[in-house]
């Protein structure tokens, strides 16, 4: 037990929290960008998977990790456009369309992986490239803090920077205002001349962009290959993290960090020979518990507001 506590308090542990948080944070921001416009993007899981696959493949073909990243993100954006088209133009049920796209991503990546590499499990036979890690001058040399904050994958920094960008976009720009208006009350937004469809398209594309970055991180940073269904629920956990954080990017970030801490802890537990099957389920159990606590708190809040209202009415009488 001492061993565990010691390793949890080490700089290395906090470093790995930031690392494992990255894909979930991207997914959570993606969930937030669609949620503010009133769209539940359950396809995040599949969007990430798609990007992870095409990132690896295109980087192997072109020899450039950056072109791979671009291709991965483009594939995720394209798929989110498909989701938007089916939902907004063909009036497909949003959740079922999301499930279908997740299936599509899972099936098509395995199908193409086998076609391109002759292997159905992973792309280890394909020589692909990874995006670099970045040292931050100045911070790098500070003891402990430097070990935690410096030397991360370039997408890890982009993820945390995105938190501020997304927050700014949603709360300080005209586009963000429109997105919130559409999410709050589409009819009212329509009546003041906002094109609801266009705004929803935009927010789904932005959501796909985030998911694409998260997926690319998985196969071009977290590990250096693509594996069948490698997202492993991270897109769904991103949804849960966003649900915990409400409509703020900072909230989503804390939700994602909570999950990242749970996952990093589970790796630490593996080191003291607790079976990986057991530790792998911990983040999911943790998410369920967090969802319960959140839902309970929300109900209490609603109750309180109601009580206040009724007591006001009594005073009024």
């Amino acid at each position: 037990m001492n061993e565990v506590i010691k390793s949890i308090l080490s700089a290395q542990f906090f470093y790995s929290v930031l690392r494992v948080t990255t894909p979930v944070l991207f997914a959570a921001l993606g969930a937030l960008l669609s949620d503010v416009a009133g769209v539940i993007n359950i396809a995040l899981e599949g969007l990430m998977l798609m990007s992870a696959f095409w990132g690896v493949m295109v980087s192997a073909w072109t020899g450039s990790a950056w072109i791979g990243l671009l291709a991965g993100v483009a594939s995720a954006v394209l798929l989110s456009l498909a989701l938007a088209y089916f939902h907004l133009n063909l009036k497909t049920d949003l959740i079922l369309a999301g499930i279908a796209l997740n299936m599509f991503a899972s099936g098509s990546t395995v199908f193409l992986l086998y076609l391109f590499s002759g292997d159905k499990g992973s792309s280890s036979s394909v020589k692909s490239y990874v995006l670099p890690n970045v040292d931050i001058p100045g911070i790098k040399n500070i003891p402990i803090l430097g070990d935690i904050l410096s030397g991360h994958h370039v997408l890890t920094y982009i993820a945390f920077l995105s938190v501020f960008v997304v927050q700014y976009l949603i709360y300080k720009t005209p586009l963000g205002l429109r997105m919130r208006a559409v999410g709050e009350n589409p009819n009212a937004a329509q009546s003041v001349g906002i094109s609801v469809k266009r705004i929803k398209y935009t927010s789904l594309v932005l959501s796909g962009l985030m998911a694409g970055l998260g997926g690319a991180f998985l196969s071009m940073g977290y590990v250096s290959w693509f594996a069948r269904d490698m997202t492993n629920g991270r897109g769904f956990i991103g949804l849960a993290a966003q649900a915990l954080g409400g409509k703020s990017a900072y909230g989503s970030m804390w939700g994602a960090l909570l999950f990242g801490a749970a996952e990093a802890t589970s790796y630490t537990l593996q080191a003291i020979r607790i079976p990986s099957e057991f530790t792998n389920m911990l983040p999911f159990i943790f998410t369920i518990i967090a969802l319960i606590i959140y839902a309970r708190a929300k109900i209490m809040q609603i109750k309180k507001i109601r009580e206040k209202q009724t007591s006001h009415e009594e005073v009024g009488l």
């Binding site: 063909l90 959740i95 279908a100 599509f104 199908f111 999911f284 159990i285 969802l291």
Partner: protein
């Protein structure tokens, strides 16, 4: 009017299937220079030998069960998509019951089934309770439960019930008292399909001929109306999901007792998600689930035959299923035609 709707839905479903198959053919054209041969195996493979017909029927069994499980919750407009995890955990529970419950002929089979149903029901009860009590989204929590079922189940099997003498990561072999009997001498056709059809009838009776089924459908049609007419919506939310979970759990038990005689999965078999397309094709009607499951099983079996004969990855069929889900649920797909049909019938009535 009713007849018009049935015609419309039939045409739409047929068209959807044809479009999906066409897309499949085009994908094959890009993937291989033997596209015609591959497509032929895909379409006709399931009926090419007796063994493959048996394979087709056995694969239909779990799909009927998960199709029913999904239909029940979808009829109540609940998005519990945890059938995958409920089936997986039901199978783990069945393994436990098969290995450790008393080995009494016939009785043990029943006990294994009941235990798996209890496990699947319990698994579904978690998101159900969270939804009813705290209004937490059953969508996210049921997805989370899928992963918990998978990892926890693997932990239980790999660390407590694993047969170390077997070459692969599998559980101990079930005792003969926990095997479903064979229905044919030369082929392993197990009676699961009969049980599944029986369950389809049972679920139909439950939904359309009992008070509880009526309440469930009312909640699905209009929650607020159901509440005002005195239906306890929270109870419906809970029992519909538990029933659904029990059906999915039973599928896991039957799959192991009939087909494998031990726990063999290191990946989730995917039947839970296939249940969604089965339910959609069947329009959540338990009786229609039977042909819908047979159809999906046909596609699956065809894709495996194609894979074995030509080396094309059978996962192509997952893509086609996804396309079918998209088109079947697309309300605007063929809507112009529906409108014309309604107009026409209205005109003819005026005359």
């Amino acid at each position: 009017m009713r007849r018009d709707r049935i015609i419309f839905e039939t045409v739409r479903t047929t068209l959807t299937i044809l479009i999906a198959l066409l897309i499949g053919y085009v994908i094959l054209l890009f993937a291989t220079d033997k596209a015609n041969e591959a497509f032929k195996w895909f379409l006709l493979g399931p009926l090419s030998t007796k063994r493959r017909i048996v394979e087709l029927l056995n694969r239909t069994t779990p799909l009927i069960f998960t199709g029913l499980a999904v239909s029940v919750v979808f009829q109540a407009e609940i998005f519990n998509i945890g059938a995958e995890g409920q089936l997986f955990f039901g199978a783990v529970a069945a393994t436990f019951a098969a290995l450790y419950f008393p080995h009494i002929k016939f009785l043990q089979i029943i006990l294994v089934m009941l235990f798996a149903m209890a496990a699947g029901g319990a698994w579904a009860a978690v998101p159900a309770y969270m939804k009813a009590k705290w209004n937490a989204s059953e969508l996210v929590s049921s997805l989370m439960m899928n992963y918990v079922a998978f990892f926890f189940g693997l932990y239980l099997v790999n660390y407590h019930m694993r047969d170390v003498n077997a070459g692969a990561l599998v559980s101990y072999r079930f005792p003969r008292t926990a095997w479903l009997p064979r229905m044919l001498r030369r082929y392993n056709l197990h009676p699961g399909i009969l049980i599944a059809i029986g369950f389809a009838l049972l679920v139909w009776f439950f939904l359309y001929r009992t008070k509880y089924g009526y309440e469930l459908r009312m909640v699905g049609k209009n929650k607020e109306f159901a509440r005002f007419s005195g239906i306890k919506v929270e109870n419906v939310v809970i029992y519909s999901q538990i029933i659904s979970g029990m059906i999915a759990g039973l599928a896991g038990a039957i799959e192991l007792m009939g087909l494998y005689k031990r726990f063999v999965w290191q990946m989730t078999p995917g039947y839970g998600f296939d249940g969604i397309i089965v339910a959609l094709l069947a329009r959540n009607n338990p009786l229609m689930v039977i042909p819908a499951a047979l159809f999906i099983s046909y596609l699956r079996t065809g894709s495996y035959v194609m894979g074995r004969m030509t080396g094309i990855a059978p996962e192509i069929v997952v893509m086609l299923q996804a396309i079918m889900i998209l088109l079947i649920t697309a309300e605007a797909f063929l809507a112009f035609w529906k409108r014309r049909m309604i107009e026409k019938s209205a005109m003819s009535r005026e005359e």
